[in-house]
Amino acid sequence: MANTFKVKVNGGPELAVDATEGTLLEALEKHQLEMHYHCRSGFCGACRSTLKSGTVRYTTEPLAYVRKGDILPCCCVPESDLDIEH
């Protein structure tokens, strides 16, 4: 499927994430990963993760400061296969 990407978290196994079904945070929670979060809407930055490779698209504009190389999984979806540190 064109919208399904492989996402690797903390060097773990590749997980299938459908970009049309909710945010990256929700997708990873469905895979039973323990995720850091507070607001879940892009303004607090608690879910901040490092993007080692790949690209994401924000569905809501993040208000938290996104440092270079970081992403906020609570308000983005994958646009390619990803490798992240969370």
């Binding site: 323990e34 507070h38 879940r40 303004f43 607090c44 608690a46």
Partner: protein, 377 residues
Amino acid sequence: MSYSTFNQEQNNPLTEPMFLGNSVNVARYDQQKHSIFEKLIEKQISFFWRPEEIDVSRDRIDFNKLTASEKHVFISNLKYQTLLDSIQGRSPNIALLPIVSLPELETWIETWSFFETIHSRSYTHILRNLFSDPSEVFEDIVINEQIKIRANDISKYYDDLIFYTQLLQTHGEGDIVVDGKTYTVTQREIKKKLFLCINSVNALEAIRFYVSFACTFAFAERELMEGNAKIIKLIARDENVHLTSTQHILNLWQYGEDDPEMKEIAEELRGDAYEIFMTAVKQEKQWAHYLFKDGSMIGLNESMLCQYVEYIANLRMQAIGFDAPFENQRSNPLPWMNKYLVSDNVQVAPQESEITSYLVGQIDSEVNASDLGDFDL
């Protein structure tokens, strides 16, 4: 040099630094150097709430059922939060408005402080409901040693910045003698004090509130003091927005996206910034110790709280470019906290907090053709 409430210099706000450039003259938002601050204003205003909307009357019954040690935890936290918001309700205005140079940031600071005053008013709302005379609780805030240690550590950076700004704005740069003591005032020195102050405020918003938040939500997990928990949920949501603003200021400086001199200072004082954060962590752990000195409460004890402080400190320090200092505390020891910190779960519509005044004066605005049936022309 001296502050003007309407600087007549024709300056370009797009080229001003966030602080210590020209003072703001026209409050215009059609063009913005750092538009994020207006977005934060909008977000914060969309979260507007009033303490009176939340019914805390059941809490009085719950409070009387708490053990003595649980009452100590509850009241001590309220005192501490009252202190924090007393400081935050005025200090960003007094310390930062005289030196701010961007209209959007000036308005953000005013919005931020205003919301802290809502928090202060909500503590009175909570305490009035619990005690027929809450004076004793308020009066203890300036006597209690544990609170005073924290008050001193938080206010000293603000006070220092305010004092030096006053000297700069009355005397200009140079050696200034006040009461026999010489103060060397330079723009750069004030920028350093500003940097330390923002780091201290950032640490405050980032972790100082969270020990008391955790206790509040631990009570709510046992279905106790739920009116209070509803209020604290709203406060926690606001504090997250405030925290984002201080993280933005620090990161903008660090990445050289604002005043180049502030970038140098951020590098020069990186160690001091780290220490400010770690001192706050240490003090919060000591606070957890003080809270549970007479015994813990169901679902929460001193060591879990300390682990939570470390966990949250990791997240917060990474947000401003430090490595996580507590490597062995990478998972959340209090996972139930998150459900109180999710923004979508916060309900503020008056009809959902069951206030009777909401229904007074309601009218049925629906008009059907049959309503006009007995009209004659």
